[in-house]
Amino acid sequence: MRYVRRGDPDFPERLTRYPAMPAGLYLIGRFPEPEERVAAIVGSRNCTPYGRSQARRFGFALAVRGVGIVSGMASGVDCAAQEGALEAGGRTYAVLGCGADICYPASSRRLYDRICSGSGGIISEYEPGAKPLAWHFPVRNRIISALADVVLVIEAREKSGSLITAGYALDQGKSVYALPGRSTDPMSRGCNALIADGAGIALDPEQVLMELGVEMRSADQGEDPDGWGIRPAGKAKDPENDPDPERAEIYRLLDPCGITAEEIAERSGIAPERVSSILIRMVLEGYAAEDGNGFFSKPV
């Protein structure tokens, strides 16, 4: 770990443009290059399975095109986006609310270790050993937005730290994108409010890439090992038009926010033994995902 002062040649130039930036930063790994395009992907810690998969999808798709992903390494959206970036072989930067030597939250250990071993940088304005105090986090958000060229909010409640990041971004004159959600979904209310206030609508990673001035190559569409991002066209038959009507119906009922086998059986009227049997086959084939709590969703 090293301490980089303002004025050192390594100190990110982009931070010096804004007021209230720290006089120096602790760093493990490296800062984004001056010419590197950087997107911040932020969102709720207790996001829905849908939010998690979208964060991963955007992180992956942007990183594939060489965009650095900056976030806060929190569980939920932050972590998913950064893991998506690493999966794509890209770089990701984590700005922490504690000392850079502390992995917080502990559940992000794998991510922390991978970043430390050369896939980006761990950045903190706090002394090594500083505890993750609650007030640190909203403050460090100004560094996240300052490092980024564009801020993307995946899922946020009405009152959310992610909206603070978006607020900083607007103050710093950057574009803000938000992933639209259902109007009734409490986890999307913050995003929908941002859109109502004029934020960009992030339907696909292409829009964000365009904003960053990065061209979309058609070849990139196919690079998706886990089926998280854009499903390669023609990989397999579309389960929605499956010849088996029960299978098609179950696939149709799969909810992005998770649905129990119980609810599928009740809504479709299909016998419970058939529902269970078909669901697990779809999980094994990759057409459905299960969140460990018995809730099934479509992998987006």
Partner: protein, 503 residues
Amino acid sequence: MYCRVFSAAIVGIEAEKVTVEADASAGMPVFEVVGHITSQVREAQARVRTALRSAGIVMPPLRITVNLSPGDIRKEGTRFDVPIAAAVLGAIGRIEAGRLSGVMVFGELHLDGTVGKVPGVLPGVLSARAMGMRACIVPAENLNEARIVRGITVIGIRELGDLLTFCENGYIPEFPDKGDEAAAPSPERDEPDFSDIRGQPVMKRCALIAAAGFHNLLITGPPGAGKSMAARRLPGILPALSDDECLEISKIYSIAGLLSGDEPLMRHRPFRAPHHSLTPAALCGGGKYPGPGEITLAHRGVLFLDELPEMKRNVLEMLRQPLEDHYIRISRLCGSCIFPASFLLVAAMNPCPCGYYPDRERCSCTDEEIRVYKSRISHAFMDRIDLQCAIRAVSFEELTGERRDEITSEEMRRRVECAAKIQMERFRGTGICFNSEISASDMERFCPLTPESGRMLRSAFDRMAMSARGCHNVLRVARTIADLDGSDMIREEHISEALCYRI
């Protein structure tokens, strides 16, 4: 003069013969009881002396010594009051000693000479029959219980006077043996029915599979979704008990003092729902002189643990061994006993600490909080749960709307009985009754897979990071699903359904 009367002490769930000897000889008028006894038995001398006087028997001024043998069995409780009184009566020449030869005696004495009921009469009478005794004298309140045992005369006494009458006449006129009446099947108990639960088809399906193969079941769902309702209805769809099983359960309940006086033979499978604050000893059995715990009281029935993560970790972990072995060995200061514990575990829990996940309007539990909540139950414990199902809250429309055709307990029990019959044929001579008991070594023999189902299990094993035990549990559940389907082979749909109840 010397007199000898037989009684029995309870060791574990069996009764051991105890000989009560009394001797009356010249000397200081002292009443002494010896023979490895607890203070409850020691206090018998006061009860016996007073009860004898109340019955109008004047004790001659003799030195009376009572010994309970064998000396290595600890004698506990008040069951020895009447045998001690009988031995003393014989020793002082009030009754003819030969009258009580081949007779086993139990009962507690009250100061006014009446005889009160005691626990453990049923195993006592059973062992009396096994030892070739000709009759048993039991408290009148325990008479129905004692009459469960065929092939031995049982006599109920209400007071010490009855004992004297019996010794003089050989019978007590008020209590004719009712013959088969006591053993006649009791009318159907008014069990709650599965049709009371609206919707929740997957939960009902899991309950059906659990009952058919005696598999353990975990229901996860928000408060008020019907978890406890389902558990309560599970004993009603289990296969009917055989006569031997009825007797086995009744014996346990007799020792625990929980048998009902009117209907002593337990014809229905027990349902135990202890509160989550229970201690390890209450769950598994224990005490200085080991007694049965909840898992033994739930033997051949259902043990329901609500709010599973609220239970103490050490209590839950104690369940692991009996869940595998179907018995528990309790070793304590004063002995070691084996208690049967073949029970169907039904556990219920909320999906997250607040209970409303994934309803984000009400639930703001983070993934970490949910992980911590769920990690209160160890992985090793979860591995022993064969079936898991997640259910959701019932909506107001479903609650008040028109009742759909819900499956009834009767229909479910019919299907369970069919599957039980198939299992009985399959396991003839192997000493097991249900698919959940198939040992790892017999897996290939009893669970033949088609090539497709083998492939599916293999891919699931790799992708779902299953343990060997987990894989075997999937096979056992799939075996039950195939039995419900009437299929010899375990087909792909049986494996995939079983897999679905594991995640």
